[in-house]
Symmetry: C2
Subunit: 286 residues, 2 copies
């Protein structure tokens, strides 16, 4: 971690967190990861709005302005990097009972960007762990992220880059680290949040902008067969849009409208941050 910010100031990362923080003990918190270029966070307000809303869902009392201050302090030190904001319910007594007067922990950290990761193709392995769409954790970036850790260990053992989660109804929901779209004909489809899906920021950008690139776009439940029948695109805030395939499928070229969409996303980033990711080495491949 390059910089670490806790509750209003930069601190040394070692020994920064109390041993009784509920984020550590019972995953009682949420986080957000955002792209920073030229000291500016891409889709900054969307990230802050979503994180503030997640805190509200969990009844963790933090102000959006405190989140904004953490993000701003970290961003202005970063030319090209990522910022993770983590909010926990803070220290608490033993057990699950909510502290009567919670003192949340706002932990921000930044890391350098690996531009080669942006747009890099991925292979996916269907996880044996299902995404539990009955839990709010399936729709929020909560600290209860262990299923993704374990599913990715399994994916790597199977020779894939990342896990693909089906939900408990057997419908593809998301990957360990991102959302996905599937392109069939000229239509991009992505599962609805009700299927156990985070409303990802890049997902949101595509839902709002795909039509400008000649693509129809919709949220709809998908079967595994429907997923396999099209070109898969995995999205998150650091990789942006990664062409993907199941590990047992053949590689296929990225369809032209998707390549145009990826270029359009770079232009949107440049318009907001003043830096085109391609100028740093991100490559829209074959």
């Amino acid at each position: 971690m390059t910089d670490v910010w806790i509750n209003g100031r930069f601190v040394e990362p070692d020994g920064a967190i109390a041993a009784n923080d509920r984020g550590l003990l019972i995953a009682d918190g949420v986080f957000d990861t955002a792209l920073v270029l030229g000291g500016r966070v891409f889709r900054r307000d969307a990230h802050l709005d979503r994180l503030a809303a997640a805190c509200e869902t969990l009844a963790i009392p933090v102000s959006r302005s405190d989140l904004e201050a953490a993000m701003a302090a970290l961003a202005e030190r970063q030319e090209a990097g990522s910022i993770r904001l983590t909010v926990t319910r803070g220290p608490g007594p033993r057990g699950l009972t909510l502290p009567p007067q919670p003192r949340p922990t706002i932990l921000g950290s930044s890391a350098p960007l690996a531009p080669a990761m942006i747009f890099a193709p991925l292979t996916l392995h269907p996880a044996t762990i299902r995404r539990n769409e009955t839990s709010p954790s399936a729709r929020l970036k909560t600290l209860a992220y262990l299923d993704a850790v374990l599913a990715n260990i399994e994916a790597k053992a199977a020779g894939a880059d990342e896990a693909l989660f089906l939900n408990t109804a057997g419908r593809p929901a998301c990957t360990a680290l991102g959302n996905f779209f599937v392109l069939r004909g000229d239509t991009l489809s992505t599962p609805p949040c009700a299927d156990g899906v985070l409303d990802g920021i890049t997902r949101g950008w595509i839902l709002a902008n795909a039509e400008s690139f000649g693509l129809a776009v919709r949220e709809e439940g998908l079967s595994p067969q429907e997923l396999e029948s099209g070109a898969i695109l995995v999205t998150n805030s650091l990789r942006l849009t990664a062409p993907a395939r199941l590990v047992r499928q053949e590689t296929r070229p990225t369809p032209e409208p998707v390549r145009a969409l990826m270029a359009g996303l770079c232009e949107a980033i440049e318009a907001e941050c003043g830096v085109d990711p391609r100028s740093l080495g991100a490559v829209i491949g074959a």
Copy 2:
């Protein structure tokens, strides 16, 4: 927290944990909670064995002797209390990828016992969040505990003491903080671990000892109707065995064989720790 132990020594709880500990950031770890009386941990070896096995399942490299040292150091300072041992994969870089040479965090803490909690009756509320039996987290005490936090908030809002989880197949699995048994006739039944259930230490004691009290005992999948048709007993290492009912059910007296089982558990604790919980104020009620 009374005492806090990290990686081999007692420390101050504030500022004890690194900001990049994977336990905090992605719930990458496991824990155990045990009862201490007279400086001795009840079913100490069973707790250590289970925790060491869970670490092995997650491929977190810790030695059982380090866990034992933490437990022993904390126990000898406690006349009547609880010990929580938490093991995380330790600090790591951004993302899910496993650190090549993990330096796990062993965090132990103790808290005073509330003897009135032992055997105290509970009301249960069926949670809208399902227990995800497809995840190893359903069978281990992992840090990804947020579902239980949220389900208990819901339970308390419904006027109950604790959440009852059904699994994704609709079968009752466990409560937010414990296992359960249901007594029908003279048979105690508890769901198998495959249903998304931790192999609780008190659960194990009952499975091994119920027959001595004239009760048949078996692990078997249960329907919600079967759960409601008998007397419910919630078990965990601090409450021991709590008579329970769904919040909408009438109170009923604890059946005599169950009361004998509870007394037998107190005697087993006294044999191992030298202290009978009833001498501290635990009451086997009506």
